[in-house]
Amino acid sequence: MIRFALAAVAVLFAAIPARAAVYIQEITSPGGITAWLVEEHTIPFAALEIRFKGGGTLDAPGKRGAVNMMTGLLEEGTGDLDAQAFAAARESLAASFGFDARDGSLSVSARFLTENRDEAIGLLRGAMVEPAFDPDAIERVRAQILSILGSEAKDPNEIARRTFDELAFGDHPYGSQINGTPESVAALTRDDLLAAHRATMARDRVFVGAVGDITPEELGALLDTVLGDLPETGAPQVDRAPNLLSGGVTVVPFDTPQSVLLFGHEGITRDDPDFFAAFVANQILGGSGLRSRLTREVRVNRGLTYGIGSYLVNMDQADLVLGQTSTVNARVSESLDVIRDQWADIAENGVTEDELNEAKTFLTGSYPLRFDGNGPIARILAGMQMQGLPIDYVATRNDRVDAVTMEDVRRVAARIYRPDDLHVVIVGEPEGLEASN
């Protein structure tokens, strides 16, 4: 039988390598484009992450879905290459390019071998700078998006998200979905796509992270090739979103055995002096793993769900505290009571010293584990720049977590968790529950 010495465990806690061991260089290309680079020459390939701030929020009025559809068409041909020839060329180089539009950013995630980097980068440049937007490809991608929209309209998670966004943000772009509607997508023209391309993919809003087998000089030349011919400026960014949420319950009837619950209210900004205290508080209330209060009370102790979590959502122009779970229809009311009690309890009573220490050790210890491979690190580098974080952030971030005190958590929890303001969207056939608006 094995006995565990708790004292030894406590000593081990102190030995956690709380620093992420990456050396980030800021480089500027001959053409004046900056990027963050981590050189890692062990494996002969590199990962490149390019983000354009704005993304789907830059859809022109009445053209919802244009940026999304345009992004879907970037890999559908350029110059002499139609969609099939482009894919064949990319595959013969064993490079991969991912193009993804979200509300807030349009991202390009590329991965290419050292041995044929120049050819791969040439293809990537074509896709980004001179996409063909061939009519045939437009109709093919339009049909795919319409099919996806049809499926989303019958997906309870998607219905919950749409309902919540609409209630929270109304007519602001955050209040609608990046895929658009069947009507808006059906009406999009090639000119709309060209306009969406000009609006989103411009050099005044680009952030780049690169990791792998590439030198600063090579990366500089690459940046000028890929980005140098994009327009200098794009569309203006959107204004701050209104906060239209008020406390209550919205039920969307849907014939399914398990209800989806999405709940939340206004959150805390990323640059608030108490942001890190809020970050730690959220870890305790509903953070990842099976250790959070919500998971303990709703899943472990009562078996009401397979999963529950809470999140600080920081978009560029809005901030939310959000939670999500799903539970069998007959027990929705019980789940909701537990969630509300937990929301109120942390706001009134704060957290315990043990909870605070455990959350801090988890958050500081898990941070280095995120730096896991070239692609993930490149994404972190681009994301940090877009959020306006300093280049030494990786080295100082854990100190900010460690500096959070009991008093900080108590203060911020009382401020950001507001049970009376909680708006709950339920999609399903919940029993014993009245919608309050």
Partner: protein
């Protein structure tokens, strides 16, 4: 440092220098525990994975879901460790952990800073043999499992459709039973059932320990001897005997309809061989067949024909995973374009298959696919956890480390003629299940 086994196959490539990450060492402890060490010294991180050679397909009749339910209960404490304590320890050390159950295996893992390996092994070894669960907690956890089934299956018509198709694909073999279990059987599972399953299957001579990351093989061996070494082998564990599938003599059809379905589609699967130790040629041909027919929309035979040329489908795909203990499936998906029926989609699929067998494989396409497979070996070294999972799945499916290392070369050796021959030999109507996934009213349109 001396290179140990290295990644076989890389040396013979026409492209690229072999990567320097991911060196592999394997050995077996006296009690039968097989240990595989994958080295990656780029970051001070380690993953411990303990894989048991037991999965849903090894369950007693009428107790579907017991392997998965037991996986949940492994987090509920031992003689000396409280429920949730191991997870708390992992979290307090900044790590992440989880577990997974498949038809052929059950696995547990932690990802932590490399100097935490000792502690992780201590707790993982403990729950290999000292599990002790409070009966009330076991009942609550069964509710969690039912909610998991609700979330992943009952609310997902596509998942319900897969269950029905899979049940039709296997006449006798347990792969026809869902991993999570049938609802009515989950509802009746007991802690005693789970403990009996645990006592029968959880032992060092039925497990594979994979440690991947910033570690030295000697250090891993030493720690494994300390923590897993003292656990005795279970003499009851023998070969994994499962029910044999009888000959399939009739093609089967599954007509699934659910009002929540917005986009109808056709899925057809065929019962085909899996990768066998020392005999992976058929599986390699099938793997390449799936790439040629439905690997990527813009360059595969199905995509080019149906999505690009005819515009009769919005999406097509072919799939095959050869890592399986017993016979597995090869499948196709065709999502018809607006205005096309499922009967049309099925006819399109049949026509493209017939044409393909007549025309054969485009050698340029085949070379592109092989180039991608070669490059994926390089990319794979960047994700040591994924590499560890690949070894774990292979070794619990009857393959050896040598088989895993030989696989890339075998894939490179497959010819276009062999791919066509595999299609003719294995894609036969009488071993197939064709499923129609329909919303309300789709049936009338398609008949």
């Amino acid at each position: 440092m001396l290179r140990r086994l290295g990644l076989a196959g890389l040396a013979s490539l026409s492209i690229a220098v072999p990567g320097k990450a991911a060196e592999i060492t394997d050995f077996i402890l006296d009690n039968g525990l097989e240990v595989v060490v994958l080295e990656d010294h780029r970051a001070p991180v380690v993953v411990q994975m303990l894989w048991y050679r037991v999965g849903a397909a090894d369950e007693p009749p009428g107790q579907s879901g017991i392997a998965h339910y037991l996986e949940h209960l492994l987090f509920k404490g031992t003689d000396t460790v409280d429920s949730g304590e191991f997870q708390a320890l992992v979290a307090a050390n900044g790590g992440s952990d989880n577990a997974f159950t498949a038809q052929d295996y059950t696995g547990y893992f932690q990802r932590v800073a490399a100097d935490r390996l000792d502690l992780m092994m201590q707790f993982e070894a403990d729950r290999m043999t000292n599990l002790k669960v409070d009966p009330a907690e076991a009942l609550t956890e069964r509710d969690v499992v039912l909610e998991e089934r609700n979330q992943r299956t009952e609310t997902e018509p596509g998942a319900l459709f897969n269950e029905q198709r899979q049940a039709a694909q296997y006449i006798a073999h347990p792969y026809g039973i869902p991993i999570v279990g049938w609802r009515h059987e989950i509802e009746r599972l007991t802690l005693d059932d789970a403990m009996a399953f645990y006592d029968t299957h959880y032992a060092p001579n039925n497990a594979i320990l994979i440690v991947a990351g910033d570690v030295e093989p000697d250090e891993v061996r030493q720690l494994a001897e300390i923590h897993y070494g003292p656990i005795p082998a279970n003499p009851v564990i023998g070969p994994r005997d499962r029910v044999d599938e009888p000959p399939h003599l009739a093609e089967r059809r599954v007509m699934f309809s659910d009002p929540r379905v917005a986009q109808p589609y056709v899925v057809r699967t065929y019962l085909v061989p899996e990768r066998d130790p020392g005999a992976q040629d058929d599986a390699a041909a099938l793997r390449l067949l799936s790439e040629v027919l439905g690997g990527s929309s813009a360059t595969s035979v199905l995509g080019q024909s149906l999505e690009f040329k005819d515009k009769s489908a919005v999406y097509t795909s072919a799939f095959y995973s050869g890592t399986s203990l017993d016979d597995t499936t090869f499948g196709f998906v065709v999502v018809p374009a607006e205005g096309r029926s499922l009967a049309d989609a099925e006819a399109d699929l049949d026509r493209v298959l017939t044409e393909f067998i007549e025309t054969g494989v485009d050698p340029v396409q085949l070379e592109r696919i092989k180039m991608r497979i070669r490059a994926n070996q390089i990319y794979a070294e960047d994700d040591i956890s994924a590499l560890a999972r690949r070894y774990g799945a292979a070794l619990t499916s009857g393959l050896t480390v040598a088989d895993v290392q030989a696989w890339p070369d075998i894939l490179q050796s497959v010819t276009g003629d062999q791919i066509v021959a595999a299609a003719e030999r294995f894609l036969r109507d009488e071993v197939s299940v064709t499923g129609w996934f329909m919303g309300e009213g789709d049936q009338e349109v398609t008949q």
